[in-house]
Symmetry: C2
Subunit: 492 residues, 2 copies
């Protein structure tokens, strides 16, 4: 039986416990220093934590979680703090556990293409270390130069190349995890199709609500023999969309297919002078990788498709520098939007690729109706939209209008059978949209898992799911709606 109804304890007690176990310099209590941790990449939300623990060892993470469990005090884990959905937003009466100092990459195993590392290891550091062996770590969020593996695991991070290579969940083989009760368990194995429940899959993307990963065994991907990066300029976004559909329909799976619209191109040019085709209504960035033979073959097909669909400029990077130039415009797009708008919301939604055109049209209409500019940058290959909703917070009512448009875009994604997040996670930001995407039974079945791991509700409360139900309530037995309630029989 759980006693989730009891009040949570005090961070003061947790601090007293930890002072007997951790060096003082790892415990941050100074208000000014605490404020450094008040937000992650979702800067619109800020909460100062009551205590920050800078963990240097796994044992310190375990000790902190156990102290929190003992006192029923909420805790939030934070890696590099680059998440865009507020997953690492602190709890005002809780402890923020920072894992970024745990950044040892224990091994790169060429013989079986594995890397084993701490949660604070930087995403790109894995690829750098694996590179001399001919391998890399495939998930490539735009923040890969600073984001950590622990954060990638928590958010199931993606990136431009997830079209071909999939999200983080496809590249994690095993995790050591501290559960919200402070127990250390291993999820997953290195064997294909491990027996028992695939809790690894449930943990990856659970945004810190099922515990903290303390060590990850990752799958490395072989560096391709050849990479060709293509920049194609189109007069309209419809043409760029048609080219995308035709490429996929031809059975080609590029490593990435990205589209930027005119507004996004304008911002990128102003910020980084990336030299995209002048006057383009949209650009398409296509990256092909694989064996040299295969890439050459696919390149010819992509070129023919782009020309057929109305591309007026088709360019291939001939060296690493030119490749970086093409990606510079795309990768800087979010930040670049600051050049054309004082404020903006980065939205993240998914639609089935087959609905892309209809959704883009409707977004244009919404933008016009509400008088709110929307720049579009997206992973076209898998229908993952990143609309940038532009506004000026100093203008009365503008923030509210931008938020309204941003919400309407998510509703549009749901209407078309898509999702409220492609790769940024739910976090705090989108918890309120979950009931639009899932019905009560579906949410309850997810809540069962959370309650099983964290009956006291101390692991990153308030994230992912709206108004958390008390675990003692047994969500499945609901008056009226439960199939057995009508019989007047209590089932369990």
């Amino acid at each position: 039986m759980t006693d989730s109804g009891l009040p949570h304890g005090s961070v003061r007690d947790v601090l007293d416990d930890l002072r007997t176990q951790l060096p003082e310099h790892l415990l941050i209590t100074d208000p000014t220093q605490l404020r450094t941790y008040e937000c992650d990449g979702l800067t619109s939300h800020r909460v100062t934590p009551a205590l920050v623990v800078l963990a240097d060892t796994v044992e310190q993470i375990v000790a902190t979680v156990r102290a929190c469990a003992r006192r029923r005090v909420p805790f939030v884990a934070r890696g590099s703090g680059t998440g865009l959905s507020g997953g690492a937003l602190p709890h005002a009466d809780g402890v923020l556990i920072v894992t970024s100092r745990l950044r040892t990459l224990h091994s790169i195993r060429r013989e079986d293409q594995r890397a084993v590392g701490d949660p604070g290891v930087i995403n790109l550091a894995v690829s750098k270390a694996a590179n001399p062996e001919g391998y890399y770590f495939a998930p490539d969020p735009s923040s890969q130069q600073i984001c950590s593996i622990g954060g990638n695991v928590a958010e199931n991070s993606g990136g431009a190349h997830c079209l071909k290579y999939g999200f983080t969940s496809g590249h994690v083989l095993a995790l050591d995890v501290v559960t919200p009760a402070g127990e250390q368990v291993t999820l997953g194995t290195e064997a294909p199709d491990a027996p028992g429940y695939d809790l690894l899959g449930a943990f990856v993307g659970s945004e810190g609500t099922l515990g903290i990963a303390t060590r990850a065994t990752l799958r490395l991907t072989r560096l391709p023999e050849e990479v060709r990066t293509i920049l194609a300029g189109f007069a309209t976004i419809d043409q760029a969309g048609a080219a995308t559909s035709a490429i996929i329909a031809a059975g080609i799976v590029p490593a990435a297919i990205e589209i930027m619209d005119a507004l996004a191109i304008e911002a990128a040019e102003k910020a980084v002078s990336c030299g995209y085709p002048a006057g383009a209504g949209a650009v398409l960035v296509v990256e092909l990788d694989g064996s040299a033979l295969e890439v050459a073959h696919e390149y010819a097909a992509v070129e023919a498709i782009c020309l057929e669909t109305g591309c007026f400029e088709f360019r291939m990077a001939t060296d690493a520098f030119e490749r970086a130039e093409i990606w510079k415009g795309r990768k800087s797009a979010f930040a670049a939007v600051g050049r054309i708008s004082p404020d903006y919301i980065v939205q993240d939604g998914v639609v089935p690729r087959t609905s892309l055109s209809a959704v883009l049209h409707r977004m244009g209409e919404i933008s016009a109706e509400k008088g709110v500019r929307v720049a579009n940058v997206f992973h076209a290959g898998d229908g993952n939209l990143h609309p940038l909703v532009l506004f000026d917070a100093s203008e009365p009512g503008a923030t509210e209008r931008a938020e309204e448009v941003s919400g309407m875009i998510l509703d549009l994604c749901i209407e078309h059978g898509g999702s409220i997040t492609g790769e940024h996670g739910v976090g705090l930001d989108k918890a309120r949209y979950m009931p639009r995407m899932f019905d009560a039974d579906d949410l309850d079945s997810m809540q069962l898992i959370r309650c099983a791991f964290d009956p006291a509700g101390i692991a990153n409360p308030g994230k992912i799911y709206p108004t958390p139900r008390l675990c003692g309530e047994r969500p499945r037995i609901r008056q009226g709606s439960h199939p057995l309630a009508a019989d007047g029989v209590e089932v369990f």
Copy 2:
């Protein structure tokens, strides 16, 4: 609070409930007819169920599960009954729910490469229907002509081509599920990286212990432009293993790499005259697929590697008939062993590919020490062994010796960091080996999920996990071993 300690109810009550809701001909109670369902592919274990329900509709499955939940009566789901680990072995005091009559394939969607079907749809039927559109369903268990999608989902089935294409879990996008409480939920979405916990991943491979899948949305795979099937004969299994390692090290990922040893070849020749190279100590079957260019390139590399590693005969199928001939030997191997031994155990274990050679040597020693012949057929590419332990049950002590050798092989897999099952599942057969592979904390964390979904323990009890713990016990708080118990503080 659960009341798992209460006794289970009677199947008679369930039958009375169902008679008011289901047509009589779907309720099997005749002892002779019931016996037809006494085992699945694990024929060494037989249990006659108390009642069999042949479901024609999802509503009938829901009604049956609800009746079982109301009376706390165990139920077991069964598709085609081809599983090899006893996952569909009935419960003597329970209900067997047969889903194989639900076999409508609702749609094949070329535009987004999806198929939607009932749980009883035959695996191969999906590929047949998708074929005219240029697609197929990639998971290919040897039983694919008769096994069902529901069973594939329950067991996370694999097959020879999983080396390149992965297990069933990578090809299921969403499932409608009836939980053990009789609620209908949808797990997964068609969007990439769906928000919330990935319960779909936990459900796939849960062997009927978390509920019954009633509809599946599957990912279709594009038919390759070209397929080349190669048969290479080697004097020794070590040479065939060396060729496998060299192929993988060269960065080639064939659709399949299979090895058969001399004893398995002998059996296959006797059964189906597959025309494998005479005098071979081992054969390697390699299948390459993809674009014609890529396949031609890889073919040349594989040929060079095989010749370098001592292959004395290298042959490529030049048409579909020859391709089928090569696979005939491999696919008939399990059954064919009946030609050289009256009885045999099909074992299924995994070792890291890098340990393959050491494990095969040790298996040879075990075989010699115990005087038990072991034929080897395996998915060499991913280290998935299928040793066939041969014996004659009429010989005193032979069965016990074969079982001992079979168990020793699994221990050997665990010792080398592998797994007790590659693709056949744990079922009843291997539940007792789970504690050798997982420690108590790991098993407890899995048990938390089971208890969350099925606190009464009625969904396929006795499968996967050894001695199921009562859900009321709260497995995480153990005297002595729990980290917090030492403090004398009760945590939850």
